[in-house]
Every structure is written in structure tokens, then in C-alpha cells.
Amino acid sequence: MADPRKVGETGNRPDLLTAVMFVGIGALGLWAGRDLTMGTASTMGPGYLPRIVCWLLVLVGLAVGGIGLFRAREDIAAPKLRPLSIILLSVVGFAFIAEYFGFVAASVWLLVIGSLADRESRWREVILLTAGLTAFGALVFIVGLGVQMPIWPFWE
């Protein structure tokens, strides 16, 4: 990744993003665990260590952010939404289709939609690859290794 450093400016963007994530997740953990009993050091309740660790996470996040503010400016390469969204969508779709329509349908979905993430994909290759990998997957995973997933939409 080429990060253009602009001379003279401050604010390390990756550090600031880190700070946001650490503080955010720490706070989320504190909120989600707000009802857990603390207990004492000798008989720790379920909330004792989570609270300590979440606070530490928030503190580390603040420290990273504080230092990041004063470091030389560094930018984050602009995210490309196409691969990110398509890959995640194809995976989530795979899960739901596998549950209700079996492996073959899910695998075809995953491979065809997943291939859209790459602009270089060629249709003929995608079709061949999908057919080959689906057959391979059904044989090796489900028949061979006994993954508990139906192959076809219905058991009958």
C-alpha cells in the first residue's frame, strides 16, 4: 500500500482507526457486561476480569489514538467496496442456502457470486470452475469426510 505522507501534517490515520476500534469494542464490552457481578478478588464474579480487560482495552485505545494524533500524517488507502461487499455477501448467502437447499445450490451461489468480486473473471472459466469444485466438494467433504450437510435440497 502506498501511503502518501504529507510533509508537515500530523495525524496517523491507521492509529486513529485503531483507537476508534479499541475504544469502541472496549466500551461495547463494558456495556454488554454491565449486569455481571464483580465479586471480590478472592471469589471473582463473572464480571471481574471482563471489566478489567475492557477498561485496559479502552486505555490502550486512547493511548494509541493520543500518540497517533501527534505522529506524522499517514493516510489509509481508500477501501474498495466491490471485493469487500461481494465476498462477504457470497459467504453469508452460502450459509443460508446450504441450510435450506443443500450443498450444491450453496456452492454454485458462492462460486458464481464470489467470482464477481474479481473483474478479471471470465464467464467460461467461472462455469467450469463452479462445476468442478462443486462436484469435488460434494464428493470429498460430504460423501468422503462426512460433513453433515445435505447435498441436494431434499433428503428424499
Binding site: 492509529d15 485503531t18 471473582m44 469487500l84 462477504l88 453469508v92 446450504a98 467433504f141 460433513v147
Partner: protein
């Protein structure tokens, strides 16, 4: 003399054509599932258990063990080739192994991993044979207090895994600890951080996080980089390690073997901790620690040796005491019992052919694995030259099936996609996921043992200092901390928090 006698008995058992055949079958199958990300040996062995009903006991057990250590071999292959660790112990292999692959040295990394594993497997197999019972009694002296000190040591060592800022690495470890706390707290029965999702009651599975932050994130990242697509950044160089590689690798293999054999016998996270500790050690003793994270061959050799040695020596508590040290060994225990053998001290006396036959077959199996794997390296490396547009859909499919197969539910696949997104954000923020995974694996062990130790000592923290093993470990942790902090004081403030940015 008696020892040689027993070993001869063992080899006699292991070398019968049938047992050899099943050993080979297990090793092959193990390599296969090791290479397929996410499909773990535990699930495979569960499926194959009923089939082994029809085999003689020793043949069945030899095959199942073959699957186990075969999977350890195969697991490092995907870690090196496509940055996809299938289990906790190959996370560290991915760090430098994948960098080597990107530099065109995949063949060298795979060969070092295979040879290092074989050496470690040989040493620790004989370790089991010679010192099994002694080692296991040592493992028993590890109580809650000792575990706490060991885990603290391991967590501190984890900060060394990251190339960038130490502060970020600490943050990632803490994040891993938080993730490890998700689920029902056994001591109180309360659900924690589950957001009332029933699927989270048992916590998050390691494979879900690993496939998310390594597998999916890597694919997305690769597709984003238009110029440098795929794994190979530079041209493929020679297949075989150079002389220099060997010279760097062999001391690392020796150290890794020692660490792995030793930590592998500890119940719980022992074997996992082994590869992390080996990596940290290598980085500390290296003349040029900057190479680590950029394709250091010791960063592959040490952890791989430790990992395989640990896998072998985790059989020790099961064979000598009848107590399984991890889930995989619990499966093996079921396998033994189904065949009417109850592992433990009595088996050693009454059915020596089973114990020694298995020990001998492990060595034979390791030899077979090297013979199978070395020629395969050429094939694996060729795989990297396949255009990425054809390679990534296959990786995607294997990952999805692997995640689904953990608990047979869609929730885990969706969760893994979520971790893919999180991993993507980490990349953008220049945070490395290695320490997160170590925190995640060790966190629950740390927490339960802290609580256990304090319940047993009625709240007195002196228990951590009174017990000699615990005290030694704590002193080592303190020493390491000082070593880490000292150089920072000399550097400027800016550098102090940025150990060496790659």
C-alpha cells in the same frame, strides 16, 4: 535392555502389512484434511470412529493417530501457501511462512517445515518411549497457580509476534481476551457478552475467528490490490532450501523440538503455546530480529518443530495416565474405549504391544509423511502460479465448508464473515491478528485458573509465589518484560512505541 526389547516388540507390531497400510491411510487422510482449511481432525476422527469398529484395535488406533499428526503436517501447508492457519498452532507458521511464499520461497518454507517436523516428531516419539511416565508426573505438578504464571509468560511473549507497534499488539491481545470471555461462565452459570445469542453460549470457535481474520480478509485484500494480485509478489525461486537456510533453520528446529516436547505434555493449551513460545524465542535469539515477519526461515522452522513435537507428546498423559490433554485426545480416548482398551498405567503393563506398537507406528507415520510431503512440495508451489481468479473461489469454498462443519450451523459462517470485515478493518489500521488469536486461546485458560487458584487458596495471592514452578515462571516473565522495556527507554519517545515498523 528391556527398553530395546519393548521397542522391538513395538516395531514388530507396527510393521505388519496391515498396520503399515492403516498408518499410511491415516497419514494420507490427515494430510488431506490438514490442507483443507477448517476441516479439523477432531470432526474427521468422530466420523471415522464407527468405521474402526470393524478393525482390530491397534490398526484402528494407528489410523486415527495418523490422521491427527498428518493433519498437523498438512495444516502448515495452507498457512504457508495462502496465509490460512487451520488451527491455533499454525498461526505463527503463517506469519513468516506466507511472507516466504510471497517472496517466491514457498518451496523452501515447505521443505523446512516438513523436515523440521520430522526431526521433532522423531525426537518426541522417542521421548514418549523413554520418559513418558516421568514426564507425565511432571505435568501433574502443574496446578492452577502454575498455569496462571505460564499463561502470563505466554501472553507477554505474544507481543513479540507483531511487527509493528507494541502498544497495538497489547491492544490486540486484550481484544482476544475479551473474545475469549464470550459464552457461559462455568463457575457462575451466567452468560457473558453473548448479546443473548444462544449460539454464543459455548463461546466462539477458534476456526471461526481464524478463517475470518486470516482467510476472508486475505482474499479481500488480494482482490483489492490490482497490481500485485495473488500470493506471489516476486518470482518463484528454487524449490529446495539453500545452504544458508539450512544453517539458520537447524538450531531453530532443535530449540523448537525441546519446547514442543516439554509444553505438549501439559494438559490444556500446552501444544498451542509451544509454537508461539518457539517463535518468540527465535525472534529473541536471532542476530537480526528485523527479518522476522518478513520471511525469516527460523520463524517457520522453530514453531513447526515445536508444533509437531507438541502433537506427539500430547499423547503422553493419555497413554500413561489415561487422561486426555485436549479435545483431540478426548476423541482418541473414546476410540480406545470403543475398542475395549482403557489407556492408563495398566495398559503399559498388561498390553505392552498396544502402547509400544502405537509409539513405533508414530515414528513410521512421521517417516511416511516426509516421504509423501517432500515430492508434493513441487505440486503445492505450482498451485501458486495458478491465476488468482481461479484460486480464490476454491479457497472461499473450503473455508465456508470448514466453518459450517464445526457445529453444522449457519451462524458460525455468518460470524466468520463478520470477522472477515473486522480483519479487513485491522489491516487498514495496521493491526496484526496474531496476538489477538493467542489472547483468545490463552484468555479462558488464564481466567479459569486465576479464579481456581484463588478459590483454593481462599483468596490469598501468595499462592503464586509460594509454589516453586510458578515462582520461576513469574521471574522469567518479569525478566522478559524488563528486556522488552529497557531498550525502549534509550530510544526516543516516538520509537519507543514503534518497535520496528515494517
Amino acid at each position: 535392555m528391556e527398553f530395546l526389547h519393548l521397542l522391538a516388540l513395538g516395531f514388530g507390531e507396527a510393521m505388519t502389512p496391515m498396520n503399515l497400510g492403516f498408518c499410511l491411510l491415516g497419514a494420507l487422510l490427515g494430510t488431506l484434511i490438514g490442507v483443507l482449511p477448517g476441516i479439523g481432525p477432531t470432526a474427521t476422527i468422530a466420523v471415522l470412529l464407527p468405521i474402526t469398529f470393524y478393525l482390530p484395535p491397534l490398526a484402528g488406533i494407528i489410523m486415527l493417530s495418523g490422521i491427527y499428526y498428518g493433519a498437523q503436517y498438512g495444516g502448515s501447508t495452507t498457512a504457508i501457501l495462502v496465509n490460512l492457519p487451520g488451527e491455533a498452532s499454525s498461526v505463527v507458521t503463517a506469519i513468516d511462512g506466507y511472507k516466504m511464499a510471497q517472496k517466491g520461497k514457498a518451496g523452501s518454507a515447505l521443505a523446512v517445515a516438513a523436515l523440521g517436523s520430522f526431526f521433532a516428531g522423531t525426537v518426541s516419539t522417542f521421548g514418549i518411549a523413554v520418559a513418558g511416565p516421568t514426564l507425565s508426573s511432571f505435568a501433574l505438578s502443574f496446578g492452577p497457580a502454575e498455569y496462571v504464571s505460564l499463561m502470563l509468560f505466554g501472553l507477554l511473549a505474544a507481543t513479540v509476534l507483531a511487527r509493528g507497534s507494541v502498544l497495538k499488539a497489547i491492544g490486540m491481545i486484550l481484544l482476544g481476551l475479551v473474545l475469549g470471555m464470550v459464552g457461559i461462565d462455568a463457575a457462575s452459570g451466567e452468560e457473558r457478552l453473548t448479546f443473548s445469542a444462544i449460539e454464543l453460549f459455548d463461546g466462539i470457535d477458534f476456526v471461526v475467528i481464524a478463517i475470518g481474520v486470516f482467510g476472508f480478509t486475505e482474499i479481500i485484500e488480494n482482490l483489492e490490490n490490482v497490481e500485485a494480485r495473488g500470493v506471489l509478489v516476486s518470482k518463484l525461486s528454487r524449490l529446495w532450501p539453500t545452504r544458508e537456510d539450512f544453517q539458520k533453520a537447524w538450531p531453530a528446529v532443535l530449540r523448537g523440538t525441546g519446547i514442543g516436547t516439554f509444553l505438549g505434555i501439559l494438559p490444556g493449551g500446552g501444544a498451542t503455546l509451544a509454537s508461539f513460545c518457539a517463535y518468540s524465542l527465535e525472534k529473541k535469539v536471532a542476530k537480526n530480529p528485523r527479518e522476522f515477519g518478513n520471511g525469516a526461515v527460523q520463524g517457520v522452522a522453530g514453531p513447526e518443530a515445536a508444533n509437531n513435537a507438541g502433537a506427539q507428546s500430547s499423547f503422553i498423559p493419555l497413554l500413561t495416565l489415561g487422561i486426555p490433554s485436549n479435545n483431540m485426545m478426548a476423541m482418541m480416548l473414546s476410540a480406545f474405549i470403543i475398542h475395549g482398551i482403557t489407556p492408563g498405567p495398566t495398559v503399559l503393563q498388561n498390553q505392552p504391544e498396544i502402547f509400544w506398537g502405537l509409539v513405533a507406528s508414530m515414528w513410521v507415520g512421521n517417516l511416511m509423511l516426509v516421504v509423501i510431503n517432500l515430492p508434493l512440495i513441487g505440486v503445492w508451489v505450482k498451485l501458486l502460479t495458478v491465476p488468482y481468479r481461479l484460486l480464490y473461489p476454491a479457497i472461499l469454498l473450503f473455508c465456508c465448508v470448514g466453518v459450517y462443519s464445526i457445529n453444522n450451523r449457519i451462524f458460525d459462517v455468518v460470524l466468520a464473515a463478520g470477522f472477515g470485515l473486522l480483519g479487513y478493518l485491522f489491516r487498514k489500521a495496521k493491526c496484526e491478528p496474531g496476538p489477538l488469536l493467542l489472547g483468545f486461546v490463552l484468555g479462558p485458560l488464564l481466567e479459569t485458573n486465576v479464579r481456581r487458584a484463588l478459590v483454593i487458596s481462599h483468596g490469598s495471592p501468595s499462592v503464586f509465589f509460594e509454589r516453586p514452578i510458578s515462582l520461576v515462571l513469574l521471574l522469567a516473565t518479569a525478566a522478559m518484560f524488563i528486556l522488552m522495556v529497557l531498550p525502549s527507554f534509550r530510544k526516543t519517545r516516538e520509537v519507543a512505541f514503534q518497535e520496528e515498523e515494517a
